[in-house]
Symmetry: C2
Subunit: 130 residues, 2 copies
Amino acid sequence: MPDDADKADDIDIDTSLINVHQTRPVLEQIANKWSVLILTVLCPKPARFNQLMRRLDGITHKALADALKRLERNGLVQRQVLPTTPIGVEYSITPLGLSLKTPFEALYDWALTHGPTLKNAQIAYDESKA
Amino acid sequence: MPDDADKADDIDIDTSLINVHQTRPVLEQIANKWSVLILTVLCPKPARFNQLMRRLDGITHKALADALKRLERNGLVQRQVLPTTPIGVEYSITPLGLSLKTPFEALYDWALTHGPTLKNAQIAYDESKA
DNA sequence: AGCGTAGATATAGAGGAGTATACCGGCGTG
DNA sequence: CACGCCGGTATACTCCTCTATATCTACGCT
């Protein structure tokens, strides 16, 4: 049995180790489309619920409510009830949420620039399989 | 009816417009935990199926297969069958996938550094609701 | 009183993604 | 031969997300 060949394989695995146990639960919470889009909207300045719904054209009432609740639970956005007339709830970004600005902006920009390329790749793949 | 107040609201919406229609379908494909982790592993160098499964400790056989299929469909990774003995399938990153390296690395690093903060926020939130 | 707005909640159903498990096929070794 | 390894598929079940829709409270306007 060639011990050396197997050992070389193991060394490669160790050197490029990935902290799945540490990062996976975090990515599970933040790596989804609505988190990226909501934080991108909230970064420049706070917004109220229905304002968010208008800007995130196509999002459902419940989907937005759920996404905001998760973001609030994770300490990325802050919920504040305004004493305005018709009540009013303002969602603003927290310092922790702001630290996600750069990564999320990069992701948003990537989606903007490489979106067409991605779509073409999908079409090519689907046609090659058909 | 105060027209100016409504107009001011509309102006705010226009100035910070978000291209949901363009970015949402893209983020739907790439913004998920396994895409980030798989591409992070594949960035330095290609890997075979079971190598990936060992590094992504905890991922299911099927989950990895599905994720790789989606990444391949989107043109982010390349699948190549090796004529080695026991067969062998190597997954490598494409130029398009490489353009995601910076954003995904930023996300991975964020998960590493801010993971504990996130966890604490969750605990605090859950306790305040209990 | 009746209507509109703002935020929230509830429900039912569709669909995607994940887990667990078993199986196929080719090839190697004991 | 019987077994394990490698890549992959198939199945069934669960869980989460999204959609669509309806209902609720509180306030203001006409």
